[in-house]
Amino acid sequence: MSTIADYSGKSAVENVTAAITGAKQTVDFHALLSLTEERALERAAQVDAGEITGRLAGVPFVVKDNFLTYGAPTTAASKFLENFNAPLQATAIEKLEAEGAICIGKANLDAFAHGGSTENSAYGPTLNAIDKTRVAGGSSGGSAVVTALGFVPFALGTDTGGSIRQPASFNGVVGVKPTYGTVSRYGVVAMASSTDTIGCFASCVADVELVMDIMAGHDDSDMTTLPDFFALAEPLGPQRIGVIKEFMTDDVDADVRMRVNDYLDKARAAGHTVEEVSMPILKYALAMYYIIVSAEISSNLARYDGIRYGKRAEAADLTSVYGDRVTKVSCQKTNGGS
């Protein structure tokens, strides 16, 4: 894996060329849906000419293909948006570009971020970076895999119900799912607006911290963003770390349990205290999640009706665009009871 420091102070054109070569050499993982080669090289030349400067000047990165970007279509891994060329860029992308970072490609995902394996992509599954016979995790599977493969030092993802944390774990990279409201979602394909968050993957904590510091903050275009919420961490003294009892049941794989316990031992050795805490409400979390998220997905995806963009079904009138049977809905059935 690579770190952001590996790229600083070097020719941006060389950084970008090397990253694109790395991407092309690892196409068998199917981690990327498109390359933004032309735009990336143009921006790299501008960095080398001193026209763009910043904390990430000339550093290549990859973004999940549900972020609106220039330079390649934004498909959300759906055939419906196969030819959708975004008319604007997500705030997160704009902020990274303002610091000189260069997007080289768009990562595969479960279509519309619906899934946990990156097998639910209309363009085929992404393979795990460590073992090709296993799933990449998801929905931000492509972003986790490119980070693990190391041809970019960081990649962006979205997390609504584990879509950064879980693929980060499956591919052995650092993933951060921030507190709701930390990063603007403007220009990112919405899934469930009550829980959608934007975060990133990298090989080390220092790099995710830098990327989050750049992306975080209030945005007039996303009224749920918190002002000045994110701050670079001061060196910490001894902390109390809570281990959630309900997450460490007998169902947890023995190897995973061992790794977690090893980590806790390291934390204790570093002077922190570790305490078991119980959150009995967690038993109900998934049932609550599936009520809220399904309802919000229904609302958010209503826009993919082929009217303003995307594919439109050939039909004689507007009603038929949505399907033939809709004209036969009976009004006899009431909604009372269940």
């Binding site: 604007l88 109900y284 049932a287 439109r312 507007l318 049977r325 036969k328 009976s330 059935k333």
Partner: protein, 100 residues
């Protein structure tokens, strides 16, 4: 997960399909009868919780009345670019199949 199931009739599935404008085969109707029953049974475990006196969580950010100045901001895309995204357009408007 419990083994409780909630009965979903064939008519329930067909009604939902009509509301959703979905055309389902007979096999799909049968499969959905099962799946929807299982899904409802799963979320019904929430009925065990006593929520008496608990206020609904409307939001978690504590942000209230978020305003911005009512000023015109430049959009990165012009009218032509936005209209070009639509499947069909005419006279600077998005064209849709006839409504009535």
């Amino acid at each position: 997960m419990g083994t409780m199931t909630t009965a979903i009739s064939r008519d329930d599935v067909l009604h939902l399909a009509q509301l959703s404008s979905l055309q389902l085969s007979d096999d799909e109707v049968e499969a959905l009868q099962n799946d929807l029953g299982n899904i409802l049974a799963y979320v019904e475990q929430l009925g065990e919780l006593d929520t008496t006196g608990i206020e609904p969580t409307y939001q978690v950010t504590d942000l209230e009345n978020v305003w911005r100045d009512d000023t015109v901001r430049a959009h990165p895309a012009d009218r032509e670019k936005l209209l070009a995204l639509a499947p069909d357009s005419m006279n600077n408007q998005i064209k849709v199949p006839k409504v009535l």
